[in-house]
Symmetry: D2
Subunit: 337 residues, 4 copies
């Protein structure tokens, strides 16, 4: 009889639920328990999924000797404390991004996991997207030669609610952090300098919180390549997630995914449906694959595909970007300790 | 506690396994038992999936009062006998295409299900494909006006093995039957006449069995539209499944699905990966949806989305196509009783 | 000083004017004279272009010893007479399609040119289209192996006027003749059998003249390939001219041309402009190239790229198609003498 | 008899020849004379085209009272002197970009034309490209709302020769100046700040001349929009000229032009030809249209579509970009007097 990995979920909001549902479909996994501060809101969902233990207190999960791994999907503020406790309890950890809003705290959390000898995977789900994986593969195989220019388009269909924005940490740590990780991943080199041209063009609420809603961020990489990311909090046509890597021997470009390939031609023009609406639709399979890869790395003892260091580096870039936005100048990563 | 539909699988070859795995993921379903003539070959698979009962004798399934529905995924030769017995046992039936190679037998099977008052769904999975559903929706809504020309491209990446071909029933009942159903589905009208221009261009084995490997089939519909299907048993670049409906107000066209959207531009040209390889890749989600829809129709008491009549009509067209191929003339559907 | 080829235009309707304007731009050509039955209607146009001689009587052109070649762009009824006279006058001939509505007359005209030793090029302009030339090149180089299926989509944006239709000769000799030539050109083999499924779906005027407006024509080629052409006299979205050749090693597919590549994404979908409107827009460059190639073949003494035999073969297929439509059966080309 | 505009060409290198050939095809224009420092090298070309006067001395053109307009296509160093003399001679002027390498000199030249009351059009040919015109039209009509992000990709297929580079003025004034004009044109607003991240990644020769070969330039516009241009002197797959404008209500994106639409599918993948090779191929029709528009503006007395002010603004941005590159900081346009 195959060994089944028993997993506990800490936090069952939108993203926690997705991870739980994906994990339940893996034959080598049992989602044994789930905790959430609003425990009553998740009871029916958990029962339907067949999760045996539903609790308000995540310590119940951490103290369960059968549990080998936890998914930390709570609000960001609780991440580092939970990582520290989970590491102390010798549980492997999957933690959503960002690790925290404070780089020093994030470092301590990563170190805690390292010292405890447990795996720590950060939820940069986009690395597992079919399009971006292909781009990385093409770059890695040298098909386009040395990377010269990395371009990332990353726009959300709708800004978050005002209440979320108040505590989001700002566009860089909340949203663009995915793109900073993607830039490192695609380029295969570290970012050394960041420059931001940003503006609040969509909604004055961003300015109210000292935040912006539109940003063009330039990155300089150690290997000489230049990156550029354009972010918007609101694309009228839906989620826009495209990437291009241009190199000495050519270029590789990926487009958005669409719900179908239908083109409708009429007397007034040619039409097609909008791209897939948002991350739940676009990254459905990527969410599955990141959990599969996490589970595999535990079962096989191999490295996780996105580790704590990756989480820290993306956070450093996000902090440099914010500094650049505030000080209106290029900021070296060396300024972010 | 929600009622769970208990289902038995009759036949667990490639397609039977897919249906079983998809059904297992539906919270409202339990796959209780599975039968196969080569029972030893499926034991491990069934255990891994948690199917409790594994038997060589499908009668064990049919006599189980808890079982409400069966999936008939045996070889085609056994379909009608199994339908008759399942209907007598008052089980709802999902049956793979074609119902049989003999139209009279197929009719009897459909009638048996009707008389017994059980649902009978035929496995025309392509109706549930995201692209073809969109085409049907556009046609139904009148966006392209009255259909004038229906074009279907349907090519396999590889011909079946010689042993399969010997008993396949020929290209029309084995392969193009999907396209005949698709043509009716998209056009929303019945086929009245069939003309085939066929040839054996890929492998002499087809000629050996009185079969062809390449066919262009013209259809005339009751609503005046004209259809054309081009089939090949071997497309070097993989599965080719495209459709176009042209009407009085415009046209709707769908292309193949690809594993990613990456375009690679180098000094020698622009490249992208081939389309998804074959039906398991291309119709993965369509297989899921056809089982969901079957289960829903049982649980809600609604009609199945593809019924026995649909199965018979597609078979009639297939028989007319074969007759046209042999007699080298257009054949009216009225010649096929 | 370079020798300049002096050319006379016989007929200056829409297509004659295009040829004259294209010829005027060739440095090695002088358009010396033009004749038209409605001579007053073309005087201003001819003067603006700098054509010195404008006449009602084409014999003035044929009797001019300086004229080396003529373009016959009159109404189809006059073609064969004009070819015979031009051949007798030892002028090289470019003649619009079809040569005539009567195969015997067409043959005589082709023979007259042959006997006189003058070049005769038929106006199958589509062979010079950038897309179709590429398809032919790919087929000729064997990149897709042996051709198995040739697919041609050919739809006009608007049906001709009633008065034109009355004398058009019907959809096959008037419109689909281009596609019959294209099928031979792309396949590199002769058509042996034709089957038509046709209907009058757009306008009852077609039925009134014993004509149809919608046709799906199946072709069998000597090399075993099967062709299929779908024609419509009215595509709501404009001119639709696509081609695909599928072979043992792959496929080559070309799409329509568009006025620009712009995609507009908004909250209601993704839009782009319609394809280029009609033949003047789509085949602008192809018209230029066919005249360049005609002039070159005269100046260099090489063969014309589309000769009288090509004209006759396309007409034979058109006659077979009409016979198939009337007799509702596949018609062998051997039935068309 | 229609008045014919007599034009003289000053400079008949590659671009001068193209303008002359395009002008010769306009019925309302006579190219009367051409001057070039290497006069012997152009005699045959001029004769073939029917240009009557070929001279080494451009003053012969300027002193010809019949000449109404001149095309200045000499080397950049001579532009301002030629503009001043042509203006003094009351000739309308079409001048290639950039006006000069020195902003003060450029201003004087523009003023000279203004004071003389002659038209001055600058050769920003890309504004007349079918794709970019469509983008501008979509933006102007408000279809995508207020512009938020303008993205321009502009990459050459091959770097210029070393000798050219030595006197090119650097990537910004030589190459990216087209993109700076395009950014203003598409956004409909003025640039206020420029930041450059640049590198020499292709060939050390660029560094030798204090130049770069790869640049990502961020622009801030008066209307709040942010622009980003990525330039490379060498794209292995050919000329890359794409644009996107993203706004509050949607986005408009244009792709490269290709020599044909053929897709070739084989067992190893899907292939198509590379984009059109370079500016002569890509902007063939745009070059025609810019000369047509210049001629029209003279004949009708209307404004030229790209005037001296447009030339100066693009130069200011180019100087700001160079300053940003050298000083590694965002540079305000107000720093460039």
């Amino acid at each position: 009889m195959q060994h089944k990995l028993k997993i506990g979920m800490i936090g069952a909001g939108r993203i926690g639920k997705i991870h739980a549902e994906n994990l339940m479909r893996l034959p080598q996994v049992i989602v044994k328990s789930v905790s959430d501060v609003e425990v009553d809101a998740i009871r029916e969902w958990a029962a339907g999924l067949g999760i045996g233990i539903v609790t308000k207190d995540y310590r119940e999960i951490l103290s369960d000797p059968e549990i080998e791994a936890v998914f930390i999907c709570s609000s960001t503020h609780a991440h580092t404390q939970l990582i520290a406790e989970a590491a102390a309890a010798k549980k492997h950890i999957f933690c959503e991004k960002p690790i925290s809003f404070d780089l020093e705290e994030s470092k301590k959390a990563v170190k805690a996991a390292e010292d405890a000898g447990v795996k720590l995977q950060i939820g940069f789900n986009r690395r597992f997207d079919h399009n971006f994986k292909k781009v990385r593969e093409v770059v890695r195989e040298g098909i386009i030669g040395d990377p010269h220019i990395i371009k990332i388009t990353s726009r959300d269909p709708e800004p978050p609610l005002r209440e979320y924005l108040r505590h989001s940490g700002g566009i860089f740590i909340d949203m663009a952090i995915h793109d900073f990780d993607m830039a490192r991943y695609l380029c295969g080199s570290e970012v050394e300098e960041v420059y931001v041209a940003g503006a609040s063009l969509i909604d004055p609420v961003f300015g109210e919180f000292g935040d912006i809603d539109t940003a063009v961020t330039t990155l300089k990489f150690a290997n000489g390549a230049i990156g550029v990311i354009d972010n918007s909090r609101k694309a009228a046509y839906g989620y826009d997630q495209r990437v291009e890597v241009f190199g000495s021997k050519g270029s590789v470009v990926v487009q958005n995914d669409y719900p179908n390939t239908a083109e409708i031609l009429t007397s007034t023009g040619v039409y097609r449906d909008k791209p897939l609406y948002f991350f739940l639709e676009r990254y459905k399979d990527a969410y599955v694959e990141e959990t599969v890869r996490f589970v595999e790395s535990i079962l096989s003892g191999s490295d996780v595909p996105v580790n704590g260091y990756d989480g820290l580096q993306a956070e450093r870039i996000a902090h440099a970007a914010r500094k650049s936005m505030l000080e209106k100048r290029p900021v070296s990563l060396s300024e972010i300790p």
